[in-house]
């Protein structure tokens, strides 16, 4: 491929990458996508197959293009005022029109520069419109192609400015610099530029406060986390695979849910009126910052559970339409970039308002643990507050209580009864999201006695109500199940479909303990390969978000701190090694001193031997030539090297120096046989003899002179014998 074609194609490809970035933002209407793609294809065809009918078809006069551009400008104004009503989308539409115009009118050098600017603006606009991971791939492709395009643009301009450098007059088509070496060299440059880009990206200080950034994120609609929840609300999202959060456990290895029950708790509800759950403890208290920067409520006056090891989670939560902060049961504290954190009376944490961006926080949870006394207690005694709020039962038929008593007839302790109810609900009722469209008068009784099918809310509500009829305090909790474990990133990807409702039962000594009467659902067998690819992509997406999108000043400080800590460790290690060496040297010195003291005669001999050795070395250094009898001094070696080169050049021209000939004799011979070069050979011979056999130094001017003479000899050509004129013409 010749330079001109490669240059045009790379420019079109660069534009195509910028256009692709705009397409992936989903801000372009279909018509613009179609026209833009067609323009890219037509312009590429015009390079690959000049004169193709398609390219001729798209050739319009400059006047026509000007009219189209004016129309596009009017359309931009209308778009800005009436359609998009936003500068950025309207500008993007207009940019695409400009791109189409330029692609179909690439004639002059400035047209290509305009095209580069348009492509860069496209990538710039995409950066403002998206945060998705695909931008990373597009960015890398853009950088790669930009290196090629800019480099080829430079070479092409150089050829235009200096066509006389080439032998061929048809410079652009004749010269083909796109050799294999050139190809891999440019690719290497692109890779180097990418690495340098990453390094600069990490180092640039982050001081932006995001003042002028318009938030274009769409909030994910959740269900089941408001102050009032209708029975069946959670069912609305049970089929939505949208990821709502990703949870890492930095202090744990492997999937935590395989070792302990794991529920990401959001809200809890105490009052049930037969259709709707409500939180009568909704009044929220603002939490203070503790010393370590976390938000935690004041400890309860009476400890209600043992201190289990805390479970630390790093939660990356999407932009949800709820302000609730989720965490594994039961959250003790949260830490993050929150302006304010609120807590309700039932252990729920929330922000003051939903954040419309993805953000990360750390939650510290204490898993529940049943106290042995609660396990064996027949009739636990509950605090008055608990009894007042968590034994409330709506107006129900007596069948519910009868069912509860019948199921727990054989249970002697409250704990056994709770477990019996849990097992009964799991085994007896069928899980289904299809609970009919008709609004039920009494959804709980429908679930228990009529349909006998339902989903998590029905199971949990049934268990809470039946426990309350037995005098055991319980409440409904909503949140999320752990979801899918991503072994690439070691985190749980929690989706909308993982929304769940379960039961919390109160015990006097243990506090609230989690029960889950909903039976486990076997997910349909998924394609393993696709599932694996999906997890890998999600893991990369998480890393992209963490280390690119949300990379901030604190990360930079942490990186510097890490480097400094490692440097300190290395320094300490080096100090340790040096100390070891110093101690060893001290021991050696002591040993030597001991030897000298004990063996005074031997020390004298040794000292005499050392002195003799030093004298011998000094004697050698006084007569360097004796020591270096067979070696030349550097200046002599340099002169000899030049002379040897001259001899080689002359030998190549048919004049050899016999071994027994002195340099001057040889120079005379050269003067006889090749007069043209004798004016160079003579001075060089003289220079050589002066340096080699004399005491003159070999300076830079001598070196330059020798090089010049050698070049002159090298460039001289001896004429063949037949053409040489005889030295002494015959009279």
């Amino acid at each position: 491929m010749n330079l001109e074609r490669a240059y045009r194609l790379s420019s079109i490809l660069l534009t195509a990458v910028g256009f692709l970035a705009l397409i992936l933002t989903r801000e372009l209407p279909v018509g613009l996508i179609v026209f833009g793609t067609a323009a890219v294809i037509v312009s590429a065809l015009g390079v690959i197959r000049p004169g193709a009918w398609v390219t001729r078809l798209c050739r319009l006069s400059p006047g026509a293009w000007n009219i189209l551009l004016v129309a596009a400008l009017v359309a931009f104004v209308l778009d800005l005022l009436l359609l998009s009503r936003d500068v950025l989308p309207a500008a993007v539409h207009f940019l695409v029109v400009l791109m189409i115009n330029k692609l179909l009118n690439l004639h002059q050098k400035k047209d290509f520069l305009h095209l580069y600017a348009i492509s860069l603006l496209g990538v710039l606009a995409a950066a403002a419109l998206t945060r998705d991971i695909w931008y990373g791939g597009v960015f890398f492709a853009y950088l790669f192609v930009a290196i090629w395009a800019l480099l080829l643009n430079h070479l092409r301009n150089e050829l235009d400015e200096h066509p006389g450098d080439l032998v061929s007059q048809d410079a652009r088509t004749a010269w083909q610099p796109l050799t294999r070496n050139f190809f891999w060299t440019v690719n290497g440059i692109a890779v180097g530029a990418f690495c340098l880009t990453l390094a600069v990206f990490v180092v640039i200080p982050r001081v932006g406060a995001g003042f002028f950034e318009k938030n274009r994120t769409t909030l994910i609609r959740t269900s089941g986390f408001s102050e009032r929840v209708d029975l069946g609300d959670i069912g609305a999202v049970k089929l939505d695979p949208t990821v709502v959060m990703r949870v890492e456990f930095p202090d744990q290895r492997g999937p935590v849910a395989e070792r302990m029950p794991l529920y990401f708790r959001g809200m809890a509800y105490d009052r049930y009126d037969g259709r709707t759950w409500a939180n009568s403890f909704a009044r929220q208290l603002m939490l203070d910052h503790s010393v370590d920067g976390s938000f935690k409520p004041l400890p309860a006056k009476k400890a209600t559970r043992r201190d289990s090891p805390a479970l630390r989670q790093e939660i990356l939560i999407e932009a949800l339409d709820t302000a609730v902060l989720f965490g594994a049961s039961f959250i003790r504290s949260v830490r993050g970039n929150f302006p304010m954190v609120l807590a309700d009376g039932m252990g729920g944490f929330s922000m003051s308002y939903p954040l419309s961006i993805r953000f990360q926080y750390t939650a510290l949870s204490i898993p529940d643990e049943l106290d042995p006394s609660d396990r064996t207690s027949v009739s636990p005694v509950y605090p008055a507050l608990i009894a007042a709020h968590f034994l409330q039962v709506p107006a129900l038929s007596p069948r519910v209580e009868e069912l509860a008593r019948a199921v727990t007839r054989d249970g002697s302790t409250a704990y056994e009864k709770a477990r019996m109810l849990e097992r009964y609900l799991r085994k007896t009722y069928r899980y289904s999201l299809d609970v009919g469209t008709a609004v039920s008068e009494n959804p709980l009784e429908d679930f228990l006695f009529t349909r006998q099918t339902g989903f998590c809310e029905h199971y949990a509500t049934a268990m809470v109500v039946m426990l309350r009829t037995l005098g055991i305090p319980a409440r409904l909790a909503t949140g999320f199940l752990p979801g899918e474990w991503n072994d690439f990133g070691n985190y749980y990807a929690v989706r909308q479909q993982d929304a769940h409702a379960w039961v919390e039962v109160f015990w006097p000594a243990s506090g609230w303990i989690t029960f889950d009467p909903t039976p486990g659902i076997m997910a349909p067998p998924a394609n393993r390969l696709w599932a694996k690819i999906g997890r890998a992509v999600d893991s990369v997406r998480l890393r992209w978000d963490r280390y690119v999108i949300r990379y901030n000043f604190r990360d930079q400080v942490a990186a510097v701190q890490t480097i400094r800590d490692r440097g300190d460790r290395i320094r300490d290690q080096a100090s340790g090694y040096l100390g070891l060496v110093a101690r060893w040297m001290t021991g050696l010195r002591e040993t030597a001193r001991q030897l000298i003291t004990d063996h005074a005669g031997g020390a004298s001999v040794m000292a005499a031997a050392v002195a003799l050795g030093l004298l011998w070395m000094a004697a050698q250094m006084r007569h360097p030539r004796r020591r270096c009898r067979d070696l030349l001094l550097p200046r002599q070696a340099a002169a000899a090297k030049c002379y040897a080169r001259m001899l080689r050049h002359l030998e190549a021209q048919g004049i050899s120096k016999p071994a027994g000939t002195t340099p001057y004799e040889f120079a005379n011979r050269v003067r006889t046989e090749w007069q043209d070069v004798s004016s160079y050979v003579g001075p060089l011979t003289e220079l050589y003899c002066r340096i080699r056999f004399g005491l003159d130094p070999w300076g830079p001017e001598d070196s330059q002179k020798a090089d010049d003479l050698l070049d002159a000899i090298r460039l001289s050509r001896r004429q063949p014998l037949s053409r040489r004129q005889p030295l002494n013409p015959r009279p």
Binding site: L124, A128, I147, H162, I204, R206, R622
Partner: protein, 380 residues
Amino acid sequence: MIATVPRGLATMFEWARGVCRRLYRYRSLRVTPEGVRFLVLTLGIGVAALNTGNNLLYLLLAMMLSLIVMSGILSEHCLKNLIVRRTIPPHIFAGRPAMAAFSVRNGKGRFPSFSLGVMDVADGKLLDRNIHLLHVPAGATVARSYPLVYAQRGRYVLDGLKFLTRFPFGLFTKAASVACESEVIVYPTPQPLPQALLHDLEGAGYDHEMPRRGQGAALYNLRDYHSEDDSRTIHWKTSARQSRLIVRESEAEDQRRVTLAMPVQAAHPMPAAFERAVILMASLAAYFHARGFAIRVLLGDEELIHGADDAHLYRIFRMLALCREIHDDLYAAIPESLLRLNDISASEEFTVLVLPWPDARLASACRGVGRIIHADQEGA
């Protein structure tokens, strides 16, 4: 041992100086118009990134900055390890183009150099030779020649070469100076002598041949054989005719000699006249050399003894190229070398005195000279 210490220090100093010279390379950097636009765009993206705090804009900013850095690295790579040799023709005449040549060897083992513009540097000024090397492969040598034209005679120094490149992206022009000092001696250009002077010289010059014995080919004399004579010089024909041994004596080849003289001291600056005289001297030297004369030149107090080969002629040209007019307000005494002209003429050697300007006193003092030429009158 003590003597080796300063020698060791000197060696170490030389080594350190060489290292510093290698490390330090004179570089200059200018921004091209495309580079200005690029920098403005980079600045705009930087401001946008700072304002919004958008990390993707920071990513774009990092890309732009890395392109700038890569541009600097690659252009430096292009310019480094270029070994230059310049070859100047040994004899250059004023006003006549001479082809100089230089070769550039790319000393890098793997990477080529691109887009090298080459300029001469003389007296701190850049001389554009319109030489552009688009591609110098790794390890390869590229040679170019270019015309050198000097309007006036004299000594010129080419300090070195300057390489410029806009590789890789055309955003910046980086220049590197390579020391490659060359001295150029520009000779005065001999001009055809006026016809009247030619006739005059032709008549005067041959009359002043002084035949003498020597090792030439031409016959000088026939005489009787002496015992110490070489038997190979016996002229047998004449010996047969005269019935006694006759030997042949040859005439010396270099018996034709001329002395060219010119004063350089002047009471007042007269550069144009001086230049005319110098050119006339060069023309006369070329004329006599072409006719096989051994030429001696007296230029003010400088003297160049007789010689007849081409090298001697170029020595004469060099002497004329470097001569300078001496302004002596207290000019009174005639230079000793010019006063010897009369003695030289007395020894029957042809002498020519070229006067750049009218000088009656000098002309009177040298009235024994074979020929006095007034350069201003000859129109040389």
